[in-house]
Assembly symmetry: C2
Homo-oligomer: 76 residues x 2
């Protein structure tokens, strides 16, 4: 089974990467760019039948820093 995990910084956590992208887009002449947040996405091939709980455990233990990041699991 294929799974996609989205990891984003929580609201209120400063996102310097996103800010850099916003500035760079402005400098390139793209107008109307409001807030920009950058996160990561991890696509994994897992054994069929891997439970969502197990995937949540992977996120909690390794993929996301739950102090500052939130994650979302999407099964493809």
């Amino acid at each position: 089974m294929k799974v996609r995990v989205h990891v984003m910084l929580k609201d209120g956590v400063l996102d310097p990467q996103g800010e850099a992208v916003r500035h760079a887009l402005g400098a390139l002449g793209f107008d109307g760019v409001g807030s920009v947040r950058q996160g990561k996405v991890i696509e994994m091939d897992l054994a069929d039948g891997t439970s969502e709980d197990k995937i949540g455990e992977m996120c909690e233990k390794l993929l996301a820093n739950t102090v500052i990041e939130s994650y979302r699991i999407e099964t493809l």
Copy 2:
């Protein structure tokens, strides 16, 4: 309007980050993890009516390195 851009390394391009995640999951005792690919996701607030062409231009010029990365635009 809210837009999400997914940027992933193209197939065939070595993904050391993904490999590191795969190894780490194995070391943590998670079995059955096949290939892992890591990419980035950029969420942007754009002016209403920004065309998909314009967003594509942002990707080509800044957000993705199209030599090794592919991108996908998702309007929310």
